[in-house]
């Protein structure tokens, strides 16, 4: 028994080319491959298949469609692998390490395809984790700031202490089943409108 193979989604509208790529990947020992020829409904397919890597031909302009999907729906974000005809080892390494994705040289150098993809997936996951952490940290910071401002407004308008202002925010949030930061944001934008 070998290790679990990478699950690959191959997006190509050209049936003949897709078949060649698929065969090449299988020969390189990658057996879990699904070929999709239609961009229509692709988001659903990504969610259902949950691939480790999405393979797309570098010549396929639909790469930009994939990008939008990743932006709209973070959960479908996957590393992208692409074929290029003349990438040297150095550029492949740079692409993989920068987190750009994986470039696989045309002709599928069998011995290397798997290594390149494995590295690309692990780099991608590391980047993704980092980005999520950073985004969470930024969001927390922004929320703390907005809560401070809402508290300040309540203290000034209603003559409350800081503790009372926060208590009021929390009660309002609980009553409406919303988050404290969301209530604070509504207060701040309302006050801006009324000014």
């Amino acid at each position: 028994m070998g290790e679990p193979s990478l699950r690959i989604l191959l997006v190509d509208q050209n049936a003949a080319r897709a078949a060649i790529l698929e065969e090449g990947l299988r020969e390189a020992g990658l057996n879990d491959i699904t070929v999709v020829r239609e961009m229509h409904g692709l988001l659903r397919r990504i969610v259902d298949l949950d691939p480790d890597v999405i393979f797309i031909d570098l010549e396929n302009p639909n790469r930009d469609v994939l990008e939008q999907m990743f932006q709209v729906s973070r959960s479908v974000r996957r590393p992208i692998a692409m074929f290029v005809d003349q990438a040297d080892t150095e550029t492949i390494r740079a692409a993989v390490e920068s987190g750009v994705g994986a470039y696989v040289v045309d002709g599928l150098q069998k011995a290397r395809v798997k290594t390149i993809l494995d590295t690309a997936v692990s780099h991608f996951n590391a980047f993704n984790r980092l980005r999520d952490e950073l985004e969470r940290a930024n969001q927390q910071l922004e929320e703390r700031k907005i809560i401070e401002r809402a508290k300040g407004l309540l203290m000034k308008e209603r003559g409350l202490s800081e503790e009372e202002a926060y208590g009021l925010l929390r009660t309002a949030a609980m009553n409406d089943n919303r988050r404290v930061a969301d209530v604070a944001r509504s207060i701040v934008s309302l006050v801006r409108l009324l000014k």
Partner: protein
């Protein structure tokens, strides 16, 4: 021993669109060679590819969407790599096209051929409202990339006429060469794209041009030349030579005496690969709005050199950022503004062109004016 003197090479990636013109002409008319550089042009197929290959170093410079340069510097949507845009590649060139059936509905609601964006937009808003009350699915509009002028111009117009671009319609990314086919297949009711792709849909009898986006935002920006900031820092002299070559190329492109030659040059399969007569119309600032209709003149539809068309206005970068925030593509942060402003580099542009005695703007920012009389104040980008 023989010394072989070779000119320094600069590899530039481009997308087959009308506005790759200055890059192509810098090579083909010898402007780059005269500046002592060897240009190598590589045709690319998607914006994501061009960005990645720029980041990885396959390209020294690239034909980039202005907002993409800003987004990459911020790391919005993808990797964070500081990019600089030291020269713009012209102004305008985009339009909004709708399907035959949507045009019919809009015309019933008051849209007129060649009407201004307010008239057309109000008609569209009525169609959208009628569809909603009839329980019909929302209209679908295509655009070329999430971080693009086309996307923001389309959203700006929709919002200004009372159509919520997130709630009332569906926006999807479709690569330019597939737009007309998607419209024919009924998957798209409209799209916003640069030339020649509006005219391609018109010629095929599939679409009607509703408005050039230069009627929404006169002298609006489009593509820039983008480089990694590290490359620009390390290659000052080459950078300046490239900017001079692109400046001369842009002036050549705008000269009416060169329009026919330019159209034929761009029509070649290795460049835009589209009919020369369609390209010529856009270059000459006229468009056929419907199949069979005579082309109409559109003032400043595509401006290559005049009106400081190649100047990298920092106010353009700030407006893009304001749209990213407005449409929730990025969470605003204090540090963003300086990164955004630092992506557009009028200082490099000024440095490169100083010796040519070209008239340069006194400021790096200007107020930007829109069809709905709104004015974007670059001093308060997020207000």
């Amino acid at each position: 021993m023989n010394r072989i003197v070779t000119r320094p090479k600069i590899t530039i990636g481009f997308i087959p669109l009308l506005d790759c013109a200055p890059i192509v002409v810098a090579l083909e008319q010898g402007f780059a060679a005269r500046e002592g550089i060897d240009l190598i042009l590589v045709r690319e197929t998607s914006w994501a590819n061009i960005r990645d290959r720029l980041i990885v170093g396959h390209f020294d410079a690239a034909h980039l969407l202005g907002p993409m340069a800003v987004a990459t510097t911020l790391g919005a949507g993808h990797l964070q790599v500081p990019i600089v845009a030291p020269i713009a590649l012209g102004l305008g060139g985009n339009a909004i096209t709708v399907s035959a059936s949507l045009w019919e509905q809009m015309a019933r609601c008051g849209a007129t051929p060649g009407g201004n964006p307010r008239v057309q937009g109000q008609a569209l808003a009525r169609v959208v409202a009628e569809r909603a009350s009839a329980g019909a699915p929302p209209l679908t509009f295509g655009m070329v990339y999430p971080f693009s002028c086309h996307h923001y111009e389309l959203r700006y117009w929709l919002a200004a006429v009372g159509v919520d671009p997130d709630r009332d319609v569906r926006l999807v990314v479709i690569p330019p060469p597939y737009l007309a086919d998607s419209m024919r297949a009924g998957q798209l009711d409209g799209f916003c794209v640069g030339e020649p792709w509006n005219s391609v849909a018109v010629q095929a009898g599939i679409g009607t041009i509703v408005t050039p986006t230069t009627a929404i935002w006169p002298l609006s920006p489009e593509k820039v030349l983008g480089c990694r900031a590290s490359w620009a820092d390390a290659n000052g002299a080459r950078m300046d030579a490239l900017i001079r070559a692109l400046h001369h190329a842009s002036v050549w492109c705008q000269d009416p005496g060169n329009h026919v030659e330019l159209a034929h040059l761009l029509a070649a399969p290795r460049y835009v690969d589209a009919p020369a007569e369609l390209l010529l119309d856009a270059i000459a600032n006229r468009l056929s709005l419907r199949k069979g209709a005579a082309p109409v003149a559109l003032e400043n539809f595509y401006v290559l050199a005049s009106h400081h068309a190649t100047f990298p206005w920092v106010s353009h970068a700030l407006w893009f950022y304001a749209q990213m925030v407005r449409w929730r593509q990025v969470e605003p942060q204090q540090t963003h503004l300086s990164s955004v402003a630092g992506t557009y580099r009028p200082d490099i542009y000024r440095r490169a062109l100083r010796s040519l005695g070209v008239a340069l703007p006194a400021e790096d920012v200007k107020p930007e004016r829109f069809f709905d009389e709104a004015v974007f104040d670059p001093a308060r980008p997020l207000s």
